[in-house]
Symmetry: D4
Subunit: 217 residues, 8 copies
């Protein structure tokens, strides 16, 4: 189990993480954590492992790109003195290329990597362990245009996880495996981005497993 | 695993089950199931076991006693042709003695047993398997007045589970074990009756385990 | 131009058509038509062709399958004495197989065809011209599971259009062509089913063109 | 076609343009553009011409006169680095003479011209092309008092369009032509100022045509 | 003064009369009378003439034509046992020709006269005095298309007032006189149909004057 | 007539004047003037006297005493460059003695007179004519405790009106006369302070008459 | 103490009693009892006398006269099988003479007495004890017009209390005594009819004292 | 009686005191005092003792610990120049140990005592009398974990009351006595912390009695 009693874990991300969390960041348990995977994570951790008492913080803000997260990382993440920083950012970096194609301030793959490096190094500097999660689209067709670009950004995350030796969760693969198990993507999400409660439950378990925490104990 | 693909499970109960479910009953997945343990159950089942596709029905109505549930059992439960009927009723049977002590229509222990027998026998007659759950108050002090009366009603449930050979879940014990693990009851509920999301998560796992369904698969 | 002054056109369908239309059906112009393609159709027809004054009726109801539409066809569609009946139904017939797989009342391909025949023949009997539109998912990947089943239902529509010699619009192809022109499906819809305002605009033009009505006149 | 891929067009104006757009200005596609003609313009452009991807900006603010627009032109319009600036302002300059006759700060015809010149010259200085649109009242009776004053202000716009060689759209004439085609002004608007969805559709087409963009392609 | 202590006056009409009155009809004083001219009438009557205590009833319903009013005249008007019946109906009879031109159930001029006769004769039969008011559009241009048709319907009202010797108020002329006094129609109404508070005040005085009741007493 | 075309009149006061007016002050016509007597005044003036166009300003703020009004007189009243300042203040100066008897900051009779002098002299200095109105309670029993204190404050207003030779309206007497005409005070107000629409109508007429403006013209 | 453990007391009345109680009648404790004196009564009884557990029922309905209460007495009062019936009705019987003077269905003093007799006799017939309370206006001026009529109706209540030997509470006197103790009527109520929370507290104590129940025990 | 005419009493505390009071603090009578015990106190004091007129101030803020109250004591409490300061703080100091066990800023027992001393001494310095009330949980089981810690904090309050010779109310004991009288804790509160209206009534009486004020006078 990679979390111990009195640890603090901060989830940093975009609308997938946010889901109505309190501002500037929400602290668990309950409503302040929003309605997304951080709350399901906290629910399971508290319900199944009363022996460890963890401070869970939701530092997701809707619409954020890696550039936005980098800009507010000190005040929203580091200031919480986390033991573990869980980062899932990048969906908007990619999405803006598709829904606002004429924008002039897209986050390039190169900038994405730079932003991620700053975030990671600052976390390491403060002694936090890091969990990197890939951005994704809940689509198993690898030829899908948005999937293709998302895979490029995911590849950066995987590379950095190796380079900095962080914990790593391939969320893209998580969804693909579920779809291959026979359920249509609409079970996980209506728009293939924002997880339904079922999707959030699947993701929360994956994070717990990555942290070596079981559910059936 | 005591549920198989295409089965239907109906949760019959009171406000603990209801929690904003659609009327006359809510069918999953998602919002129609309300915000309580039936939805967490359905979220986990769908997220962790895509190989079995189950129709989950929430037939809880706030304020119901066993007398109310008996009266609507045919239309709200049986009409769904359930393979499994999960019943948690009795909290209001007891509670009304405490918050409306001058009422003249309390459900006595004897009537409670009769109501439960009607419900159980009707379910069996239709070929459904039954999961009986005890009523409870999230209180580990066995001398607490409401706990004492609740234990009497729970004893009826345990007796009937044995007599009719149904599945059985001692929900009272579930909460007591959690409290004994070191967490105060307010983690499970603000009023010791209606589970928080954490409480609902703990209860949903207990139901899944009773149905021989794992979470870490 | 296949509509003439004082004609009545009724759009019959599901949530794609409904989009907040007045009940039991909405009559244009304006808000009573809802926010979907029937209103954009009516906006364009009134704006660009003031010389023909058409009564546009929105008879879509969210969640409807072909079975539901058939059941209310007399009161909601025929009672309006339409000159043209435009029918787009079937998405829910297919969708329910995916989001409620354990339901026991799915509309089979065979029933779908029967429902459509009843609807078509009743319209013809009343002297109305018919515009048949295929159900769809805004997905260009023909191997997508929901797309595959949708294509089967669309094939029925195409077959019946030929058999009864009705007007026909391949809406599935409309979306695919747009995606192939370089825009991601999220431009048309967030969930690949319910058209955005852009999607509704594209669909409305296609319907106008099918009725031999131009926009640049 | 006077717009090319990756261009930015800014609509600057008053409540006719605003219609609930996001503040300080709304960027398309979708809700941030408000519910008026800029959104219909963007819907049509995206739906019918996926080959050009344009950034559409709504910089209208309800109640603005030319004096107000001039004051915020730098921050709300120029700062967006537009390729095309589409300007429709002046209705409130005239209207305030009629609904607040005792006000002491009316925008005179002379000031109107000065404000417009500042706006035009600043746009030209930044290299933007300009589309000037006349203010209007949807009234074909040229003897109407408000129409008469509006015509004076429109004459200024026409004069400046010629002098600065900008694109020009006579919106007053657009409405008159529609009314003469046989539809009462209430089809276009309930108050003869704020276009209905039908009016907005007609205006959006006129703007597209002015930009040499077809709808029937 | 044509009203005496303890009289009952019923205002029968459409949305111009209704303006949010209580259903099925609103009885004064105060909010139940809605926000339109019946309430201003009642306010003035009570404020300026405390010596006569009159029961004012608002029996207007939005969207009503003369056909609708005729259908509910017994229950909504006669049942109140009025001493005076004030009738203003017909705007929707005309308006529907313009905003729903393809409707097939328009109220023709002939039907309008028949409906009015039934209403008048039923009132006379019950011994009530009648105040007939013309429908209108707040437009002084007699060539305006809707004004022309409205004038035809108004002529019927004037004819019937003479024939049955009822009280009569030419509301169309009231608005025209005001406009000719130098104020634009937007002072009276934003849509030239539904009076603003200023319009309602002007109309209420005209009704009081028709009933030979002064305001400066 | 003591108002002429293009004049500006400002109503300065407390909740009786305010009644939901726009902040910091509401300018007519319509909703920005709130729902009290200033709006009825403006409605009547515009409806009955279109030949004079007056800018009516509502500068009332709920809860104000003369001390509060004095403090904001420059920005809320004088800055509007009024030709006429109509002042009704003092009800709260008295009321606070009764509903918050233990407050330590009551406005004494002496302070009230000082506040009024400052307000009056500042208005005169700016060349405005002044209309002074007495505070009141709608109670004809002169022995009523609150009436007695209110009469003391009213006496100050009457004295100052004579001393500075301003226009003067005895509002206390207005209500008493109405009650003596046979109507109970509840017709004018539910709490004997805040006028109903009927009370506001009566007060607005009295102000118009004080300004030598007729209603029956 | 005139209430004993397990007794049921029903409060029957108008808006003074109702104050937002649940429909058709509210049963305590808590919100279902509304916000008026019945709830304060129930709060005090439960807080200060836990040894007697009483079922408190609020059967007040806003706007009721004695005629209305008589009509629903069987279903709303008697059906609760009360041990004590507390009746406060008559304010609206009087009030309608003042705020709707032209109504034709006023409850005369004679009818009031008849209605009260029916209510009293039906209660006695069912074995209930009765507490009669006078209607009132919170006004110590005996010459006030509404007070004078109210006193006539109160006299009927006092007479019947003596004749049928019921419990009796002179609520009119209660308010007068409070006012004479030096507090203005606005402390008790803003409109001299509907008690504030302070007024409800005073009334609740008076009822408890009438039932021989102390507060300082 | 320890309050005299024109005194000011300030209630300083957390959500138990706050209960929706106006910000930054609410002054009675009525809604500004919120819905908790300070308002019931003020209701009773005004209703039963009109001879003393007291300014009651609610300076409770939800979520406050003793640390928070200390920080705002000058501006929220002292600035009101109280004659009596009533303090109930500490529940959140304890509660945070249980519902946010991983927080790093808990208020220790030692800090609690320091905070209380600062608050008490500052009050004494300003000449105010002090009423100290214990924090509590409405639980009679002394072995309850949260009760045990609460008792430690209560002991500090009792000690300081003796040391500084202040008025003292053992609120913990108040609830226990009520429960021992036979009513379950749910009568007093749903969560054993925030008093119901019944609980607030019991507490308000206890405070009045501590101030030597009777209710049955």
């Amino acid at each position: 189990m990679l979390l111990k009693d009195k640890d603090c874990i901060v989830f940093a991300g975009d609308s997938i993480t946010d889901m109505g969390a309190a501002r500037p960041f929400g602290v668990g348990p309950g409503e302040p954590l929003g309605q997304g995977y951080p709350r399901v994570f906290d629910n399971m951790l508290n319900a199944f492992h009363p022996e460890i008492r963890v401070r869970t913080v939701n530092a997701g803000i809707s619409g954020n790109t890696s550039r936005d997260l980098r800009a507010r990382f000190e005040t929203d993440v580091i200031a919480n003195e986390p033991d573990v920083v869980a980062i899932m950012i990048g969906v908007n970096d990619v999405w803006r290329h598709f829904d606002h194609p004429a924008n002039r301030d897209h986050v390039s793959l190169q900038e994405y990597e730079e932003n991620m490096r700053v975030i990671i190094e600052r976390s390491l500097q403060k002694g936090a362990r890091i969990l990197l999660m890939t951005p994704y689209i809940m689509e198993d067709n690898e030829q899908d245009r948005m999937r293709r670009m998302m895979d490029d950004y995911s590849a950066v995350v995987r590379k950095l996880a190796g380079e900095y030796n962080t914990m790593f969760l391939d969320v893209q693969q998580l969804w693909v495996d579920y779809i291959h198990a026979g359920r249509y993507s609409m079970f996980l999400s209506s728009d293939r981005i924002h997880p339904s409660a079922i999707g959030a439950t699947l993701l929360a378990r994956a994070i717990l497993h990555t942290l070596d925490i079981t559910l059936d104990n």
